[in-house]
Symmetry: C2
Subunit: 68 residues, 2 copies
């Protein structure tokens, strides 16, 4: 899944590690999500969105999930 995490992180000049710490996960998890290796869990997605002051839908791209 595509996300705006890397973009938002760079805007704020944060490293993956700083973001990871802020949302209570590991650097590798952030890397994997940024790179699209796997999709964040609902709770992690929420924490990341909240950290940036945005909604989940504003951070994660669901355009490939549209069968509605």
């Amino acid at each position: 899944m595509k996300t705006r995490i890397k973009e938002l992180r760079k805007e704020r000049k944060l490293s993956q590690e700083e973001l990871a710490l802020a949302v209570g996960t590991t650097r590798q998890t952030i890397t994997s999500i940024e790179v699209g290796k796997y999709t964040a869990s609902l709770v992690l997605a929420y924490k990341i969105a909240r950290f940036f002051g945005l909604t989940i839908e504003e951070v994660f791209d669901f355009s490939e999930e549209n069968e509605f």
Copy 2:
């Protein structure tokens, strides 16, 4: 995690099975999420929210996840 799924489903007079079919999952998965046995994945949460014409944050309750 608490959700409004049951409430929204009843408003629309849908069974768990009908909702499950509509969002491409199984009845047991809907039951488990409604009952709080586990938390939906990000994609499933999105599909459920979209099905009801709402955002993820409007359907799922993250109030217990607030350490920010």
